[in-house]
Amino acid sequence: MVEVISSLTIIFVASALTLFISNKLSQPAIPAYIAAGIATGFLVDQSELLTLVELGIAFLVFIFGLKFDPGKLNSLRTDALITNSLQLVLVGVLSFSFGSVIGLGSIQAFYFSIVATLSSTLVGLELIEKEVDKNIIHGRLSESINLIQDLFAVLAVILIGAFISNPSNWLETLTAGIGIIVLGILVRGFLIDTIAEQAEGSRELLMLTSLTFLTAFIGLSQYFELSIVVGSFSAGIAVAKFPHNLEILETMGSIKDFFSAIFFVTLGALVSIPSLETILLTAGIIFFTLLIKPGLFTTSLLHQGYDSRTSFLTSLSLDQVSEFALIITIQGYLAGIIGESLFQATVLAATLTMITSSYTKLYEHKIYEKIKGYNILDNPENNLPKTNFDEELEDHIIILGYDIQGKKISQRLSEIDQKFVIIENDPEKVTESKENGENTIYGNALSSETWEKAGFKDAKLIISTAPFNYVSERVLELETSADKIVASEEIEKAEDMIKKGATYVIVPEILASDLITEHILGLQNEENYEEELRRKNLLEVKKYLNSDEG
C-alpha cells in the first residue's frame, strides 16, 4: 500500500505541474495529465495502478451517462439527426477500410475506426460552450453530433463485447448489453425519484445511492462479460433525473476528477518510445481526425442546407480524438485484443489532437476565411441567400438575428407599422420567422450577397443583437448611411464600436443593471412594488412560453 501511495503522490504532483502549465496556455486538462504520465512513466509501477485505472474509467463514463440528456437531441430535426448519424457511420466505414488496407486485420481496423470516428465530449463540448449557451446553430449541431457519438461509443463497446471478446456467446452478450441500458432508462423513469426522496436531501446518501447503482450496474456488466463502460454509462443514465442529477454531478464530479486524473496519467505512463509502426498509425489517426472527418461532415452539412460557415465551424469542432477511444483502446490492449502500437498511437494522437483543437477553435474564423478562399466550400444546391419577398426596400430597418431580442423588436416595429427585414442563418429560426409572416432572408451576415439582398444601402437603421464581435465588426464595416446599432458583451469593446461609427451599442449588462437598480429603489420607496413587479413579469414569462408553444 505504501508503494501505491508513493505512486499516487508522483501522479498528482506531476499532474499539478503540467496542469499549471496547460492552464497558463489555456489548454485543456487531459493532454496535461497524459503528458504528466509520459514524463513520469518510469517512476511509477503501472500494474499496481490498474485497479484504480478501472475506477477512473468507471467514474468517467458514469459522468458521461449522467450528463447525457436525450432531450437535447430534440433540438435538431429528425432528418438532421439521421443524416449526421449516417455520416458518422460513413467515417467509420472509411477508416475501417483504411485500417484494413494498411494491414491491421479486421479487429484492429475496427478499433482504428472507432478512434478515428469519435470526437471528444470533454474537450469538444467545453470548447463550444459559449455557442451552445447562446443557442447558435453550429453550437447546437456540434452538441447533437457529440451526443450521437456517445451512443455510438457505448454501442461499439457492446459490439466488441459480443463479437470480439466473447464470440461464442454473442447473442446473450448483445442482449445483455442492450438490456442493461434499458434497465438504466427504466430506473431513471420509475425508481430514482422515489429513492432520492427517501434521501431527504442528504448529500452523503445521494452519493452512496449513485455509488450503489454504479457498482451494481458494473457488477451486472461483468457478469455478462461486458466492459464496465456499459454498466457505468447505464448507471449514469439511471441516476440522472433532474433535479437530483445536479447534486450528484457535483458530488461525483470531484470523485471523478480524482480517479480520472489517475486514469489519464496512467495512460501516459503506459506510453514508451514510439516505434515506427506507432508513429505511422498516429499519423493515420491524425489524418482522419483533422482532415477526413471534418471534411466529410462539412460536405454533408452543406448538402443538408446549412450555410458554409455553419457547416465548417461545426465540423471543425469535431477535430479531436475522444476519451472514449482512449477507454476502449486501453481495455482492448490490456485484454490482448489489440497491439501495443495501436494503443500507443491512440494515446499520442489523442494528446496531440486535443491540444490542436483548442488552437483551431481560437482561430476558427481565420481558418474558415482561408479555406473559403479556395472556393471549395460552395455548394451550388445551397444558393444562399434565400428570401421570401420581392420588393425593393427603402428606409427600412434591418434586423440581424431572429432570437428573443429579434422577435421582440419585430413585434414592436410591426405595432408601429415600421417596415423591416430579418436576416438569419439558423434554418429553424428562418422557418419560424417566415411562418410569422415577416420579410426574411436566410443568409449569413458575413456574406455581402446577404446584405445586398437586404438593401443595406437604402436602409434607415441596421440593428444586430448577437453579441459576437466578428458580427458587430462586419456590420460596422458596411458602407452605408444607415444608422448602426450593434451589441457587445463587454463595455470595453463598446467604446471601440462607437468610434467605428456605431450609433449605439447594446451592452446587456448596462441595460440589465439600470433596470435592476430601478427595481431596488422601487422596492424601498413604493408600497406594493414587489407584488406588482412579480405579477407583471410573471405574465410576460407566461406570454412568451405560450407564444413559443403556439
Partner: protein
C-alpha cells in the same frame, strides 16, 4: 482486463449494504456512522462472513483518514488555534494522564494481567478523531468553541499516538535511552514537517493557488497533490499520516480559496470514510469479539462516564462556560479505532494475546456507536441538563462570540451587473455579504470595507450558513446555475426579497412558481429595453439621442462611472 471478480463484488456489496443501512439510519434518526460500522459487522466475520478486508479497502481507509485530517487542517485557522493553544495543551496533557490512570484502574479491577492492563491503558486513551470530526462537521459545529477545543485535544492526542506507535515498534518499552532517542526523533521530524508547512504557507502557496484557482481542475489537483506530498513524507519518516495531512491542510488554511478546496475534496473524503467505517469490523472474528463481552460492557460504561467527567473538569478549569465544557466533553467519550491499531501492533510484537484485541474492538464498537448518538444529539441533551449546570457558571467565564447577520443583503456571484448595482444596494442596506467564486475578484472584494466577502461555491451548505441566507432581507443571485437558484428558494421564504437570474424562460416560470419575487432573464430585459429605444428612435429621435447619451458616456469612460 477485468477487475478481480471477488474484488468488484466485495466493494459493491460493501457499498450497497452501507447505503441501505445508511438510509435506514437516516429514517430512524440515527447517525450514519453507526450504520457504516454495522455494515462491517454484518458483512464481516462476525456475522455473515461475506466480505474480507482487501488492499483496496485498506488504501481507501488510509486515504480517507488522511484527507479527513487534511480537511480539518484547512478548516482550522492558525489564529483560531493560537487563541486556545495554551488551554488546549493543558487539557490534553492532563487528560492523557488522568484518563490513562482511569484506563489503568478498570482493567486491573476486571482481572487482566499487568502487561495486558498497560497495553489496554495505552490504547483506550484516544478519542476517535474520525467520528468526532465527521459528526461535528456534518452538524456545522466543528468551528464552534467546543469543537475547536476537541479538535485541539485530538490533534495533540494524535501526536501522542505517534509516540506510542514508535515506542511499540521499537519493541522496547523499558530502555530509557532507546525511548528518549525515539521521542527526540519524533519531535524533530514533526517540527520539520510543521515548519515546512508553515514556510510554504507563507511563501509559495498563496501565489501558486491564485494562479490556478480559476481552473477547477487544476485547483483540485493542486490541493490533492499537496495533501499527498505530506502524506508520503510522513509515511517515509514513519510518522503519523494523520498529523502530516493535518499540517498540510493547516498550511493551506491561510489562502482565501480554502472553502472552495474543502468542498471539492469533501466528496471523495466522504466516500473513503464510508469505506473506512465499514471496514473497521471486517478483520474481527466473532469469537475474539465476544470473549470478554461482560468486561467490555462494564468497562465501556465506566470509561464513558469517566472520560466525560475528566474532560468536563479540565475544560471548566480553564474558565470556559459550562455550555462549552459540557459540549466539549460529551463529544469525547469514546474509544478510538486507533486502539485497534495500537492493539494490533502490541499483539504482533508479542506483548499480549489476540483476545485482548477482541476486547478492545468490542469496546471501540460499543463506545463509538453510543457516542455517535451523544454527539448527534448533544445540543438537545445540553438543553435538558442546562439548569443543573448553572452552579458552574460564574462571572469570569466567557466564550468567544460569533458574528451573525440579520436583515442584510446577500449577493451571490459578482459580475459587471452586480458591480453597477452595488452602489444602490450599499445605499439601501447596512450589511452586505457577497459570495463569489471567481479568483479574479478576490483582491477587490476582500478590500471593500462596506461588505463581507466569502469566497466559495454557494451550493455548499457551509457557505450558505455563513452567509446567513435564512435571515437575509434581500437576495440577489446572478448565478447561472439553476440549482443555486432553487436552493435559495428552498431555504428562504417570502420574508426575503429574491431577485434571481435565469437563462431560460422555463426556469423563470419555475422560479416564479416557487415564489421568487423577480426573475431576471438577460435576453428578455435587453429585448425589452432595446425595443423601447427603437420605438423612441423612430417616433422621437431627439429623445432617443438624449436617452442613449448617458450610456455612450459610460462607454467612452471605459465603463467606469464616477
Amino acid at each position: 482486463m477485468s477487475l478481480e471478480a471477488t474484488l468488484a463484488y466485495d466493494l459493491a456489496l460493501l457499498i450497497a449494504t452501507a447505503t441501505t443501512l445508511g438510509f435506514l439510519a437516516r429514517k430512524t434518526g440515527q447517525p450514519t456512522i453507526v450504520a457504516y460500522i454495522a455494515t462491517g459487522l454484518v458483512l464481516g466475520p462476525v456475522m455473515l462472513n461475506l466480505v474480507g478486508e482487501s488492499e483496496l479497502t485498506k488504501l481507501m481507509s488510509e486515504l480517507g483518514l488522511g484527507f479527513l485530517l487534511f480537511l480539518l487542517g484547512i478548516e482550522m485557522n492558525i489564529d483560531d488555534i493560537r487563541e486556545i493553544l495554551r488551554p488546549v495543551t493543558n487539557i490534553a496533557i492532563l487528560q492523557t494522564i488522568l484518563q490513562t490512570s482511569l484506563a489503568f484502574i478498570i482493567p486491573l479491577a476486571l482481572g487482566f494481567t499487568m502487561m495486558e492492563t498497560v497495553i489496554i491503558a495505552l490504547c483506550t486513551v484516544f478519542g476517535a478523531t474520525p467520528v468526532i470530526v465527521k459528526l461535528l462537521t456534518d452538524k456545522d459545529e466543528i468551528t464552534t468553541l467546543p469543537g475547536k477545543i476537541d479538535v485541539g485535544v485530538l490533534i495533540l492526542q494524535d501526536i501522542y499516538l505517534v509516540i506510542i506507535l514508535a515506542l511499540l515498534s521499537a519493541g522496547n518499552l523499558t530502555d530509557p535511552i532507546a525511548v528518549s532517542y525515539t521521542l527526540a526523533k519524533i519531535f524533530v521530524l514533526m517540527s520539520l514537517v510543521g515548519g515546512l508547512s508553515y514556510l510554504s504557507a507563507r511563501f509559495i502557496l498563496p501565489g501558486l493557488f491564485r494562479r490556478v484557482a480559476e481552473s477547477k481542475h487544476a485547483f483540485f489537483i493542486h490541493g490533492v497533490a499537496w495533501a499527498f506530498l505530506f502524506i508520503s513524507l510522513t509515511i517515509y519518516l514513519d510518522l503519523s499520516v494523520e498529523v502530516g495531512a493535518f499540517l498540510a491542510g493547516l498550511g493551506l488554511g491561510q489562502i482565501p480559496y480554502r472553502e472552495e478546496l474543502k468542498e471539492r475534496i469533501r466528496p471523495i473524503t466522504d466516500f473513503f470514510m464510508v469505506i473506512f467505517f465499514s471496514s473497521i469490523a471486517l478483520t474481527i472474528t466473532r469469537s475474539d469479539l465476544l470473549i470478554y463481552w461482560k468486561e467490555a460492557i462494564i468497562a465501556s460504561i465506566i470509561l464513558m462516564i469517566g472520560n466525560f467527567l475528566i474532560m468536563f473538569y479540565l475544560i471548566d478549569r480553564e474558565n470556559f462556560t459550562p455550555k462549552t465544557s459540557f459540549l466539549g466533553s460529551i463529544n469525547m467519550t469514546q474509544v478510538s479505532e486507533f486502539s485497534l491499531v495500537v492493539g494490533g501492533l502490541a499483539v504482533a510484537q508479542g506483548f499480549v494475546e489476540s483476545e485482548i484485541l477482541g476486547y478492545l474492538s468490542l469496546m471501540a464498537l460499543l463506545t463509538m456507536s453510543t457516542s455517535s448518538y451523544l454527539i448527534n444529539y448533544n445540543q438537545q441533551i445540553y438543553k435538558r441538563v442546562e439548569p443543573y449546570l448553572e452552579r458552574f457558571n460564574s462571572e469570569d467565564k466567557k466564550d468567544v462570540q460569533l458574528k451573525e447577520f440579520e436583515n442584510h443583503a446577500v449577493i451571490i456571484g459578482y459580475n459587471n451587473i452586480v458591480k453597477r448595482v452595488l452602489p444602490v444596494i450599499k445605499q439601501e442596506y447596512s450589511d452586505i455579504i457577497i459570495v463569489d467564486r471567481n479568483p479574479d475578484n478576490v483582491e477587490k472584494l476582500s478590500r471593500d470595507p462596506d461588505l463581507e466577502y466569502i469566497y466559495g461555491d454557494f451550493n455548499h451548505g457551509e457557505i450558505r450558513k455563513s452567509a446567513g441566507l435564512k435571515r437575509a432581507e434581500f437576495i440577489l443571485s446572478v448565478s447561472s446555475n439553476a440549482s443555486t437558484q432553487h436552493r435559495i428558494l428552498n431555504e428562504t421564504n417570502i420574508k426575503s426579497t429574491r431577485f434571481l437570474e435565469a437563462k431560460r424562460f422555463e426556469d423563470a416560470a419555475e422560479f416564479y412558481e416557487r415564489g421568487a419575487e423577480y426573475v431576471m432573464i438577460e435576453d428578455a430585459i435587453t429585448a425589452e429595453k432595446v425595443s423601447e429605444y427603437l420605438e423612441l428612435y423612430i417616433e422621437d429621435p431627439g429623445i432617443f439621442k438624449e436617452e442613449v447619451e448617458n450610456d455612450i458616456e459610460t462607454f467612452l469612460w471605459g465603463g467606469k462611472r464616477g
